[in-house]
């Protein structure tokens, strides 16, 4: 036990610093010149679609892959060339990777025993109690359900109190209730011990509810990084605007600017965006607004300063989702616009075919640094039926992934 890192328990989390990391596999580049600093004690989420390089980043930090270029520092120490077992890092694997020939208890105690921790077994029991699985300590992993296995995998990593805990889609197989519970548990553990968590996920909701800082990753690069609210309220790229929730995006040219706002002409419509919320202030720009910020009006509202009004448009689809209703409004020259309206009254306010106007406060708009064409965006086919089919397909794909 020569090194302080792998021996003993981490007193606190450690900083993670990635400097100019590039990872190439034969035939493709997974990560290109990635620079990232995760402060000690933070809960950091790397969010992105599959194939964006987030899992590769995690494996690089764990030492399971070697970077083609760049350096990895944990707690200020360069660990780029150290072996996985020498790094003060533990991983909750997406596939759990629980040792099938050992009992649940032996699995959880494995890391402790390797480090010759004296009270490995009591500590393992304690970790199992934390995930409410102490009663199955003597079973083999194959005798547990997927969700239970995932919790064992979590216990097996957390019990080591690593300076840096890596989570690879750790809550994927849990049902909603357990998922919430585990999210809270994870946050508790993280706050109690002050560990640094690096969480990789494609689930934007999970990333936003759990992490202090979210980095949205796309094609091997970080598109935008910040607090969840900041990312949601002020996306800087079309990819972020569409990957984190939904956005209505319009592309036009800046027709006039003032001290605190710019006005963009999209077809015949003029839309105002606050200057400090826009990334570009001249030429062709893409601006957007979140669907829940839009107000539906059945008659043309009076033009008030500080409000954008577009319309008239026609409602092409209404889908009721309990707490809110999603309207699809076709506006001439602007395309199809999504509106979320809280269900303050019984049933939808307007029906398909109704003529409506849309209004939103100028302060809610945002201007992007790129064009929607830069982001992979599918043809908006937003009838209720096709949404249902898409949802079903994505669920099926998720189930296939797990199987």
């Amino acid at each position: 036990m020569a090194d302080g890192g792998a021996g003993g328990f981490a007193e606190a989390g450690a900083d993670l610093e990635l400097v100019g990391i590039t990872k190439r596999f034969p035939g493709f580049t997974a990560i290109e010149d990635l620079n990232l600093t995760i402060p000690a004690g933070s809960f950091f989420a790397l969010l992105g679609p599959s194939g964006c390089g987030k899992t590769t980043t995690l494996r690089l930090v764990a030492g399971l892959e070697d970077p083609t270029a760049g350096r990895i520092l944990i707690g200020g120490k360069d660990v780029t060339t150290t072996k996985p077992y020498q790094r003060p890092v533990n991983t909750v694997f997406q596939s759990y990777a629980l040792f099938p020939h050992m009992t649940v208890l032996e699995n959880v105690a494995f890391g402790l025993k390797r480090r010759r921790i004296a009270d490995a077994i009591p500590r393992a029991h304690e970790a199992l109690r934390l995930v409410e699985l102490d009663h199955v300590a003597q079973r083999k992993p194959a005798q547990l359900s997927g969700g239970q296995q995932q919790r064992v995998a979590l216990a097996r990593a957390v019990v080591n109190r690593p300076a840096l805990l890596l989570l690879d889609e750790p809550l994927g197989a849990l049902d909603l209730k357990l998922r919430r519970q585990m999210q809270l548990e994870l946050k508790d553990i993280q706050q109690d011990v002050g560990l640094t968590f690096l969480h990789v996920t494609h689930d934007q909701e999970e990333a936003m509810t759990m992490a202090d800082t979210v980095a949205v990753m796309n094609k091997g690069e970080i598109e935008q990084m910040g607090a969840p609210e900041e990312l949601y309220e002020l996306p800087k790229t079309a990819f972020v605007a569409n990957f984190l929730g939904q956005s209505n995006l319009f592309t036009g040219t800046v027709s006039s600017t003032s001290a605190d706002s710019i006005v963009v002409s999209v077809g015949d419509t003029k839309i105002e965006v606050p200057r400090e919320r826009a990334q570009r202030h001249a030429g062709a720009v893409t601006i957007g607004v979140r669907p829940e910020k839009l107000m539906l009006h059945t008659s043309a509202p009076k033009a008030v300063s500080g409000t954008n009004v577009i319309g008239p448009g026609r409602v092409t689809d209404v889908s009721f989702s309990g707490v809110s209703t999603q309207y699809q409004v076709a506006v001439k020259g602007l395309g199809s616009i999504v509106v979320f309206a809280q269900n303050m009254v019984f049933g939808p306010v307007v029906n398909v075919g109704a003529e409506v106007w849309l209004a939103w406060t100028v302060d809610h708009g945002f201007g992007l640094a790129d064009d929607p064409a830069d982001a992979p965006r599918f043809e908006p086919d937003t009838s209720t039926r096709s949404l249902a089919i898409q949802k079903r397909e994505s669920l099926e794909a998720e189930l296939d992934d797990e199987a």
């Binding site: 399971l64 996985p84 077992y85 533990n90 694997f93 596939s95 990777a97 480090r115 080591n160």
Partner: protein, 305 residues
């Protein structure tokens, strides 16, 4: 109508259906059972009876009559005790050597070459290739290679690395070498099958949990490939203990290295002492059975065979 019994209709399966099915299964089993009875059970009983026979008083050599002379067993143990011990000793050492050679080979084929299916297939073919030549011929070839004036010893003697009277054939080392060599494919293939399925993510997890590569090997890789190791060692140890080719005078052995198989052969074919040969055979069989049962039990993998 007869097929009705096999189709799954809406009606719940009845006992009659199950009984009909089992009858068919029984008929299908019959040839196998008859074969076993005729070629295993009958010879076994005959062997047991032979082992208890006594000499016909005043009869010719090789003339024996029905009797129940249990003392035959005591006699052969006294006479061939050394052979019996030698057999299991040689078989054990040969099994260990074959395992030490085969495990890295199987690991290389099953894990390292995993990403190159063509090379993997080629490697496997090479492991099996010796089977294309008769077992006897291969062993004879080794006798030539290792003979006193052969390529290896001749050269070493000319270079004065070895003294002029050095010899390898006829020694225990040569017999053990021959046994290990001949059973390497039987050891390699089952281990390969286990390692080929090994999920390397477990190995990654071991590394992630502070286990050094050596530690990960002994606590993760080896236990997960245990079924292959156990099958391989059984497939080597059992036939090696009864082998009489490698240890015989005409191959790699000498009278000093004779194993139980050689004693059985000599008693059956040369001395025509059938009761002694039969008793030795049964002792060999029973000992292997006990050893293997203890081994499999200890390994805790009753579910592998």
């Amino acid at each position: 109508m007869a097929f009705g019994a096999f189709t799954t209709t809406a009606a719940p399966p009845t006992d009659a259906g199950a009984r009909k099915r089992s009858k068919v299964a029984l008929i299908l089993l019959l040839p196998g059972l008859a074969y076993l009875a005729l070629f295993f059970l009958v010879p076994l009983v005959s062997l047991v009876l032979t082992s208890l026979q006594s000499k016909v008083p005043g009869g010719d050599i090789g003339e024996y009559q029905f009797d129940l002379v249990f003392a035959n067993y005591g006699t052969v143990v006294g006479q061939y005790g050394e052979h019996i011990l030698r057999s299991f000793g040689y078989a054990l050492v040969a099994t260990v050597l074959a395992l030490l050679f085969s495990y890295p080979l199987a690991y290389f084929l099953g894990v390292t070459l995993r990403r190159f299916p063509l090379l993997q297939a080629l490697g496997l073919t090479l492991v099996i290739a010796p089977f294309f030549i008769s077992f006897l011929l291969r062993t004879l070839a080794w006798k030539q290679i290792l003979s006193d004036e052969g390529m290896v010893l001749g050269t070493l003697k000319n270079l004065s690395v070895l003294p002029a009277d050095a010899h390898v054939t006829g020694t225990a080392g040569a017999v053990i070498f021959g046994l290990a060599y001949n059973f390497i494919p039987f050891m390699t293939l089952p281990i390969y099958t286990s390692l080929e399925k090994l999920d390397l993510r477990y190995v990654e997890a071991g590394g992630d949990l502070y286990a050094s590569p050596a530690r990960t090997f002994f606590s993760v890789t080896l236990p997960l490939s245990a079924p292959g190791v156990i099958s391989g060692t059984l497939l080597t140890f059992i036939p090696a203990a009864g082998d009489y080719v490698n240890a015989s005078n005409s191959f790699l052995g000498s009278p000093d290295t004779a194993m139980i198989g050689n004693a059985i052969e000599s008693n059956f074919l040369t001395q025509q002492n059938y009761p002694a040969a039969a008793s030795l055979s049964i002792i060999l069989m029973a000992t292997i059975l006990v050893l293997v049962a203890a081994y499999v039990r200890r390994s805790g993998t009753e579910d592998l065979v």
